[in-house]
């Protein structure tokens, strides 16, 4: 048969496309569960690392179920929302891309309008996930997922707030395509570690968030951490992301703060943990277990 005839060329192309197409479809379907599991484990690892717990991918699921005792959904007004949806299944990056970022940029200075629009986002209002971590010592931390914009693409992270609704217990950041050595450094520990111990509210109870300060945060600044030199846009993106995300949760954290003042339970343990860094307790106990 003449392999250069039109007929042969058509037959060859058709057979090739069918064979290759079905091969790829089989591979994609067959590997899907493994890939989904990897994504899930990574999310669990990231959530846990924001409270200072480093786990391998294999044990991520067990440790996550052990430490994350509650998952809450917050609505656009910063109140607890009664819903079937689990916080873990909320894809904040997808929500952000599919319209939520427009709500933020359109209502930068008008908080009430922003909250109103968030309440009517999607099917039954926007969902903001919140993970409640319970340490071995009974301490509680609230972990908030964040998404924002870097220089080249999305950045995201998790920030953990102590049960006083004010002090940062830990933070992790990650990015898709920031410049290695510059913006990509937000992933590194030296960048995220100084967030620990910063506070979201000033002495008068006004929300100020934690921002990234260009040229270095002054000593004793309760609301600023060092920026990355050469990574200004990524640094600003982190500031914006932290400020905007926690702003939505602000009413919830304020309510925590009030109930905390009444109960005053952590005071008993304070002297013990005073000499240690804020996040060392759960890690210590974890090590002891191993």
């Amino acid at each position: 048969m003449d392999i250069n005839s039109n007929k042969y060329t058509f037959i060859f192309s058709t057979v090739m496309v069918v064979v290759v197409g079905s091969l790829l479809a089989i591979a994609a379907v067959g590997l899907k569960p493994f890939q989904a599991e990897n994504v899930k484990r990574e999310k669990m690892q990231n959530i846990l690392s924001s409270v200072g717990i480093t786990v391998s991918a294999e044990e991520a699921s067990d440790k996550f179920n052990q430490y994350i005792t509650d998952q809450i959904i917050i609505n656009g007004n910063g109140e607890v929302k009664e819903t079937e949806i689990k916080a873990f299944d909320v894809d904040v990056l997808k929500d952000y891309k599919s319209g939520m970022s427009n709500i933020y940029s359109a209502n930068k200075d008008d908080e009430a309008a922003m909250r109103k629009e968030l309440m009517s986002f999607g099917k039954d209002g926007a969902n903001f996930p919140l993970f409640v971590y319970s340490g071995d010592d009974g301490s509680k931390k609230y972990i908030v997922p964040m998404v924002g914009k870097g220089l080249w693409g999305p950045i995201w992270g998790y920030i953990a707030i102590n049960s006083d609704g004010n002090t940062v217990a830990g933070a992790t950041f990650d990015h898709k395509t920031e410049t290695p050595g510059l913006g990509a450094e937000i992933k590194e520990n030296w960048f995220s570690a100084p967030f620990v111990g910063k506070t979201l509210f000033d002495e008068n109870g006004n929300y100020v968030s934690v921002s990234v300060v260009k040229g270095g945060a002054p000593e004793g600044d309760m609301h600023g951490v060092d920026a990355i030199s050469g990574g200004t846009i990524t640094s600003n993106g982190v500031s914006e992301m932290v400020y905007r995300t926690l702003k939505i949760y602000e009413p919830y954290f304020k309510s925590l703060n009030k109930s905390e003042v009444k109960v005053e339970e952590p005071e008993v343990e304070m002297p013990v943990s005073d000499s240690l860094p804020a996040d060392s307790l759960p890690v210590d106990t974890l090590n002891n277990q191993i």
């Binding site: 392999i3 590997l31 990897n38 994504v39 290695p180």
Partner: protein, 224 residues
């Protein structure tokens, strides 16, 4: 009986041994004399992009090895069946299918590495080495030489990647394969990582230095 043995020997002599001199050259040539990166200047883009860490470079080299072997082998087997008018499209489809398979497997089993390589696995499709070897070699040769040629070229590519990544990771972040190699005491004494090594331009310069060293040793590469 003796004639049968003699015939067998004859048979053996007639058949080209698997690693004849010619076949060996297919593997060794691309390592030095016709290295795809430093001599033919193919596949430079990925060499600049994923040589920040040795681990990435190794995984990338292995991915290219798998894709190159798979696609050259398939085209070589099909070489008498591929209509010449659509051969580029056929090559592309084969390479693309191989790349997607590799990408999916990486995502399923070495997730963290696949995340670091991100788009560059997908970009193996556009790596000139692969289309170049298919077009120039495997379309006209039997599967076994094509296989050797693929191994040789992927090894030549990987060699450069790993050498460049070695220097970039060591000087740029003081690590190798992710492990801290330069002790803290050095940093305390005032040593600091060279941030420029992490940026793509430095990869070009390291490749340039490699070419310099290579040509000063291998004088037949020097053009008059």
């Amino acid at each position: 009986m003796s004639t049968a043995v003699a015939e067998e020997v004859k048979e053996e002599v007639k058949k080209e041994p698997l690693f004849s001199k010619k076949n060996k050259k297919l593997i060794t040539d691309p390592l030095d004399d016709s290295n795809p990166i430093t001599v033919q200047v193919l596949g430079i883009c990925s060499a600049l992009a994923i040589t920040v860490q040795v681990k990435q470079a190794v995984v990338m080299s292995l991915s290219v090895l798998v894709v190159l072997i798979g696609s050259t082998f398939i085209t070589s087997v099909l070489r008498n069946m591929i209509p010449s008018r659509v051969r580029i499209i056929v090559q592309l489809v084969i390479v693309a299918a191989m790349v997607i398979l590799v990408d999916q497997v990486l995502k399923a089993f070495v997730y963290d590495v696949s995340k670091q390589l991100s788009v560059f696995v997908g970009l193996i499709i556009t790596n000139c080495i692969i289309m170049g070897r298919i077009e120039a070699f495997s379309l006209a040769n039997k599967p076994w030489p094509s296989f050797l040629d693929a191994v040789g070229n992927a090894a030549g590519y990987g060699l450069i990647l790993i050498v460049v990544a070695f220097f970039r990771e060591l000087l740029g972040s003081g690590k190798l394969w992710g492990f801290q190699l330069i002790p803290q005491s050095f940093y305390d004494m005032g040593y600091s990582n060279n941030g420029l090594m992490i940026l793509p331009p430095m990869a070009l310069i390291v490749v340039g230095v490699y070419i310099w060293v290579q040509r000063s040793k291998n004088t037949k590469l020097i053009e008059a």
